[in-house]
């Protein structure tokens, strides 16, 4: 070491340092480039869909927002998203109304109620449920759930028919309606809501819970005063993640729903449609202009899910610990 001439060793050091610097800058730029690529893809999705939508909407002979029909390939193109927007929102709302309370219950079950021996494998099962492909849910929904919903539908019509919403005006039809779609969507989004909510409930400071119990609270009072307030932002953002899934679900809706271009306020009646399902069904026979029209409806769906997911992430960002990334 000491025998080597100083000049040479200095040169070697400098060379290796410049090597490592070059390696560093290459690696840095590669990794930053991938990050930027993701942003570019997002921007491109928005840009291209917007461009195509603009091509379509500018030739639409009717109001894009309030029209019921979807006949873009007719000689006089008429299409609008009123029915689709209604169906998407209603089915998602039904799904949320069922899934959120149940998911909170399951999350509480796993985190606070179940014996440890049941809780672990059950949490695992719920995670597996999230992995079932939507086409399998769709197949099960259409061939198993729909026949089994017939009794419930008749029942709801009988006892809740006075609410107008649950009034069934067509009798003796298979319940391929928005309500069944909502039930199926609820089953599909349960796992993700449960997974995120469960993580939040696990993070509740032990001291809060013990303090509540030490003051003589029952288990429910402890949960109401310590667990639920702490978990509220997590519950909200988990629900919104679930909502995002429900809004964008395509194939399970397409297998179950019997579609039409009628906007019916009775959710137990056939008909209606959703954005994603409409695209999947109409795409095959669409002409080039029809495709552009479908892209316009896709853009609306994209913007809605973007807003919902963005809002969920902003709420969750306040508490970084439970981002639910692995859900």
């Amino acid at each position: 070491m000491t025998s080597s001439p100083p000049a040479e060793s200095e040169g070697r050091v400098r060379r290796s340092r410049s090597d490592s610097r070059r390696g560093d800058s290459i690696f840095f730029n590669l990794s930053r480039g991938s990050g930027i690529l993701l942003l570019v893809i997002m921007a491109a999705i928005a840009g291209f869909l917007a461009y195509r939508s603009w091509l379509a909407i500018s030739k639409d002979q009717a109001n894009f927002l309030t029209t019921f029909e979807w006949t873009p390939d007719a000689a006089k193109p008429v299409f609008g998203i009123a029915v689709l927007a209604f169906g998407t929102v209603v089915s998602a709302v039904i799904a949320m109304a069922i899934a959120v309370p149940v998911a909170i219950g399951i999350a509480l079950f796993i985190s606070h109620y179940a014996p440890r021996r049941i809780a672990q494998p059950f949490a695992y099962l719920v995670d597996l449920l999230a992995a079932v492909p939507s086409i399998v849910y769709g197949l099960w929904g259409a061939l198993f759930l729909v026949p089994h919903m017939a009794g419930l539908t008749a029942w709801m019509d009988q006892y809740l028919g006075w609410t107008f919403v649950f009034k069934q005006t067509q009798l003796g039809v298979t319940p391929r309606n928005l309500f069944t779609v909502g039930v199926l969507l609820a089953i599909m989004i349960l796992p993700i809501i449960t997974a995120v909510t469960r993580e939040v409930f696990r993070q509740v400071p032990r001291a809060h819970e013990e303090a509540a119990l030490a003051l003589g609270a029952t288990r429910w009072e402890m949960i109401r005063t310590a667990v639920l307030p702490f978990g509220r932002p997590g519950i909200i953002s988990a629900s919104m993640l679930g909502l995002g899934r429900a809004l964008g679900e395509t194939i399970a809706v397409a297998t179950v729903l019997s579609t039409s271009s009628v906007l019916s306020l009775h959710v137990l009646d056939l008909g209606g449609g959703t954005f994603a399902q409409n695209i999947a069904l109409k795409f095959g026979e669409a002409m080039p202009f029809g495709r552009d029209a479908l892209m316009a409806s896709g853009l609306v769906l994209f913007v809605i899910t973007l807003l919902v997911n963005g809002a969920a992430r902003l709420i969750i960002a306040r508490r970084k610990e439970y981002s639910g990334a692995n859900a």
Binding site: S20, R21, G23, D24, F27, F28, S31, S34, G35, I36, L37, L38, L39, I41, M42, A44, I45, F48, L49, R52, V102, G105, I106, F109, Y113, V126, L129, A131, V132, P133, S134, I135, V136, L139, W140, G151, L152, I187, W220, E221, L247, G248, I251, A254, T255, I279, A280, F283, R291, M295, G298, F302, T305, V308, N309, G310, R313, S323, A325, N326
Partner: protein, 358 residues
């Protein structure tokens, strides 16, 4: 509490003979559950209700009502509320378990009779769609190739993005990327399909092929890989990095030789979970791969088939008992594939996950 009781004791001894109030016996919830299920079945059968969903709902409502009423009568209102909440949580548990079991059992029941060697090794070529026979070999090949190509595109990009976010990312760009990766995980699959359609097929004029499907799948996969890899890289202890720097190793070499190998188990898990997720995606494949009855091993030329698309076509287009049978068979294979990937991935995660450092 006890101080108050002792102070009161000499004055009104008859008020507080027991320090605790009456409690229901330990087996009470189980007893109520059995009772309400029996009652639910009895009412359901008695009234001739067709669907078992109704029976279950009646039993659930009875369970809630009886456990509240019984507890309110014996133990008082506060305890009753507590019991009611406990019952609600257990009912939620049952509600979650029932569809899961039903889905699994029904799929296995319907599919098990269909899946055999012939089904797995033959395509639908020269098979009359509305008749029996045929298989999913072409769909299996298509799915494997499309998912493989998508993984080859998405995994490196996702991995490098995660490296950027964890190892380099400080400024505003990293924050923006993090936010949009999160938002991107929520893109509906059909929108990704529309995007690839508008760029790859309409603007650039390529025909439908397996590859255009895998482009859309890659878009769906990237954010998932980024998120899971990010979590894993964050778990790598900082001491390892610092030890490496102290030895004069440049940063890029530290990442390649120290950080990534330490986290490789978790990263593999994340990638496999992402693969499992895109393998079941139907919507983009439906628009971009087009579907075929014959075997096409070339994902870059001509339409291909894929498992989810096969199920969809057998359900929607064939739409008779033979089509349903094939659809269930393919669904069973798809579920087995996805669940297998999940189990292996989680096994790897447990086997060699980096221990949290601090």
């Amino acid at each position: 509490m006890s101080a108050v009781t002792t102070a009161d004791a000499p004055i009104v001894p008859q008020l507080r003979q027991n320090l605790t109030t009456a409690r229901l016996p330990k087996w009470a919830p189980a007893g109520v559950a059995v009772l309400s299920v029996a009652l639910g079945c009895a009412i359901g059968a008695g009234a001739g209700l067709a669907s078992h969903i109704q029976w279950g709902l009646i039993a659930g409502l009875l369970f809630l009502a009886i456990s509240y009423g019984l507890s309110a009568w014996v133990e008082g209102r506060r305890q009753a509320k507590d019991r009611f909440a406990t019952s609600l949580v257990w009912v939620a548990f049952v509600i979650a378990v029932v569809p899961l079991i039903s889905l699994t059992v029904y799929t296995v029941q319907q599919g098990a009779g269909v899946v055999d060697g012939n089904f797995l090794s033959h395509s639908m070529r020269n098979v009359i769609q509305s008749g029996p026979g045929g298989g999913i070999y072409h769909a299996l090949i298509g799915t494997l190739e499309q998912v493989g190509l998508a993984t080859a595109m998405a995994a490196p990009v996702g991995l490098m993005t995660a490296v950027y976010l964890v190892e380099y990312g400080r400024g505003r760009l990293a924050k923006v990327v993090t936010f949009f990766v999160d938002v991107m995980t929520g893109i509906p699959s059909i929108v990704a399909g529309l995007f690839v359609l508008s760029v790859w097929n309409i603007l650039l004029g390529f025909a439908f092929s397996g590859f255009s499907g895998s482009l859309a799948l890659a878009i769906l996969m990237m954010p998932v890989v980024v998120r899971s890899t990010e979590e894993m890289l964050k778990l790598v202890p900082n001491e390892l990095r610092e030890a490496s720097y102290a030895l004069g190793v440049p940063k890029w070499k530290t990442i390649l030789r120290i950080v990534l190998p330490t986290a490789i188990g978790g990263i593999t898990t994340g990638v496999m979970l992402a693969v499992a997720r895109i393998a079941g995606e139907t919507a983009p494949v439906l628009m971009l791969v087009f579907g075929a009855d014959a075997i096409n091993t070339d994902p870059f030329n001509g339409p291909q088939q894929s498992l989810p698309l096969f199920i969809w076509q057998q359900y929607a287009s064939v739409n008779n008992s033979f089509g349903y049978a094939r659809a269930w068979g393919a669904a069973l294979v798809l579920i087995a594939f996805v669940m297998g990937l999940n189990l292996i991935a989680r096994g790897i995660a447990r086997w060699r996950s980096p221990k949290a450092g601090h």
